[in-house]
C-alpha cells in the first residue's frame, strides 16, 4: 500500500518525501477538522449532563 503510494509519487526522492509529508499533514488536518469531531460524540466518556 505505502510502497505503491511511494512509487506513484512523481519526481526524485526529495520531492517524493516532501509530497508524502504534505499528504500526511493533509490527512491529519482532515481528521482533526472533520473526522474526530464527528466520531467523538459516539465515545463513551463525553457525557456530563444529567438527563
Amino acid at each position: 500500500m505505502y510502497g505503491w503510494l511511494w512509487r506513484a509519487l512523481p519526481g526524485p526522492t526529495p520531492v517524493r518525501a516532501l509530497l508524502a509529508v504534505v499528504l500526511v499533514l493533509g490527512v491529519v488536518a482532515a481528521c482533526f477538522t472533520w473526522v474526530f469531531p464527528a466520531i467523538a460524540p459516539l465515545m463513551p466518556f463525553n457525557d456530563i449532563t444529567v438527563d
Partner: protein, 251 residues
C-alpha cells in the same frame, strides 16, 4: 562497519516479476499489516486530538466568548454592600446566548468562564459552561443548574473535586454579581435529574431558596457517574457598586 560481502539486489518487489500464489498471499498480509498499523496511528491521533487539541480549540473559544461580551470592567470599591434582598433576575435567553460569567476563586484568580444557554454539544464542546434550560437564572428562586466538561474541551470543571464547603462561586451578569457558596457535593448516576430540580433531591417541591448546581462527569475520563456541586446564594450586589470580596483574595 565494512559489509560489502553481499551485494543485495537494488530493489525488492519489482513490479511485473511473476510470482506464485504464496507471493500473492504475502502481499495481502503486507497490505493487511499496513492497514492495521495505519488504524493504530489514527487511534493514537484521536487520543491526541481528544486530550490536547479540544482543550486548545475550546479554550480559545471560551476566552473569546468572555471577551465578546464587552462588559465594562467592574469597579473596585472599598467595601461594597453585600445585599441579601430580592436580586434582579434576567429572563432566560435564546439557546447559544452567553449571558453570564462564572468565577471560582478556588480554581485560580484568572478563572473566568462564560455561561451559555443550553446543554447540547454545540454549547458544552465549544463554549464551556451550559445552563440547563428551564432551571432558574442566576439569583432566581430555584436552582441555577449548569454543566461543563471536567476533562477535554477546555475542561472548565476540571478541578471540581477541590471545592470545599463554603467556597464562593461568583456569577456575573452584565449588571449584577451573584455570590453563591458551596453547600454540598455528591456523586450520582446520570439519570438522577432530581439534582437539578428547583429543590435539589425533591422534584416537584416548591422552591424558596436561591440555589446553584454544577454537574460534570465522574470519574474523570468516564461517563459512568456525575459529580454534583450544590451551592446557595449568599449575597448579591450591582456591578456598579464594586467587586465582591470573594474575588479580591477575601473569603
Amino acid at each position: 562497519m565494512t559489509r560489502i560481502e553481499t551485494t543485495q539486489p537494488a530493489r525488492r518487489g519489482q513490479p511485473g516479476r511473476p510470482r506464485g500464489a504464496g507471493a500473492v498471499g504475502w502481499a495481502v498480509f503486507g497490505v493487511l499489516g499496513e492497514v492495521l498499523m495505519t488504524l493504530g496511528v489514527l487511534i493514537g491521533l484521536f487520543v491526541v486530538w481528544q486530550l490536547w487539541w479540544t482543550d486548545v480549540a475550546a479554550g480559545q473559544e471560551q476566552a473569546q466568548a468572555v471577551a465578546d461580551l464587552r462588559w465594562e470592567e467592574p469597579v473596585t470599591a472599598p467595601a461594597p454592600v453585600e445585599r441579601t434582598d430580592e436580586p434582579p433576575v434576567l429572563e432566560e435567553p435564546e439557546e447559544l446566548t452567553t449571558f453570564a460569567t462564572l468565577q471560582v476563586p478556588r480554581w485560580g484568580e484568572d478563572y473566568v468562564q462564560p455561561i451559555t444557554q443550553g446543554v447540547g454539544q454545540d454549547v458544552l464542546d465549544h463554549l464551556g459552561v451550559g445552563h440547563y434550560p428551564g432551571t432558574a437564572m442566576p439569583g432566581g428562586v430555584g436552582n441555577h443548574a449548569v454543566a461543563a466538561h471536567r476533562v477535554t474541551y477546555g475542561k472548565p470543571f476540571n478541578r471540581v473535586a477541590e471545592l470545599e464547603l463554603g467556597d464562593p462561586l461568583v456569577v456575573r451578569t452584565e449588571g449584577t454579581w451573584y455570590v453563591y457558596r458551596v453547600t454540598s457535593t455528591e456523586i450520582v448516576l446520570p439519570h438522577q435529574v432530581e439534582v437539578i430540580a428547583p429543590v435539589p433531591g425533591e422534584p416537584g417541591a416548591a422552591p424558596v431558596d436561591r440555589r446553584m448546581t454544577l454537574t460534570t462527569c465522574h470519574p474523570m475520563f468516564s461517563a459512568e457517574e456525575r459529580f454534583i456541586v450544590h451551592a446557595e446564594l449568599d449575597h448579591w450586589m450591582p456591578v456598579a457598586d464594586g467587586t465582591p470580596a470573594a474575588l479580591d483574595g477575601g473569603a
